[in-house]
Amino acid sequence: MTPKVGEEIPELVKHPTTRQLVQYAGAQGDFYEIHYDQDFARSVALPGVILHGLLKAAFLGQLITDWLGDEGTLKTFEVSYRGVDVPGKPYRCRGRVVKVEGKHVELEVWGEDPEGKRTTVGTATVELAG
């Protein structure tokens, strides 16, 4: 693998559902009601139940590890949640190489809602094998 600065990595489109939010709440042990109780979510001024930030982080983690395969290791991974996302809409994960220094590669990664708004933005550093 020879990443080049500016190169986009293959995108990953996820299709989160309310069912998945419940599954994720159980698997992570995060039972904050904004992720499965519509009335509660609206009572705190949200559009309805929203995706866990950490679920979106997991999607972006998959974006990176799918791209890396067994050709490198994910070292650091940082995300900021800039907007809320609701289930039932595709979530598009994308990334771009911003720096290459020998085996060390820096990526910019982000998740987009269907309107193209970057609701999660982040960076990652990977170390290539060999």
Binding site: Q20, A27, I34
Partner: protein
């Protein structure tokens, strides 16, 4: 006044390590997590995917005493540092602390930011990962 005291009380906790919590990476739990994030990579039957540790040991994101401030929680962001792979059978001990507490005023009013930091150490005494999380009360 009540609001100020919550912030002061939280600030007093900055830097103090919370209780160490240990858990073993079980194949069944890992499988449920991987199903929940819908990542079919066969590698995750033995090895933990990048964000798994948050599920293994609950990090005290929702600090009860902070709930006197504002009306809801938001997750501002997360930072994962990985030093070694985590595999099925590993015994992981997590120690968390509040790293920083501050208020910030923006267009939508004043928000309270709480930065959590958790270190994860395996059964060999080696730090496998460090997680930083930004929880926001609004």
């Amino acid at each position: 006044m009540a609001v100020t005291s919550v912030v002061e009380r939280l600030k007093a906790r900055v830097g103090q390590p919370g209780p160490a919590v240990s858990a073993t990476v079980e194949a069944g739990h890992l499988e449920r997590f991987v199903e929940a994030i819908d990542d079919p990579n066969p590698r995750w039957t033995e090895e933990a995917p990048p964000t798994y540790l948050v599920a293994l040991v609950p990090v005290s994101m929702h600090l009860a005493e902070a709930e006197e401030y504002g009306k809801g929680w938001l997750n501002g962001g997360n930072r994962f540092e990985h030093f070694e792979p985590v595999r099925v059978g590993d015994r992981i001990t997590a120690t968390g602390k509040v790293a920083d507490v501050y208020e910030k005023t923006g267009g939508s009013g004043t928000l309270l930011f709480i930065i959590f930091e958790t270190d994860y150490v395996n059964q060999h005494g080696r730090t496998v990962a460090r997680l930083r999380g930004t929880a926001i009360r609004r």
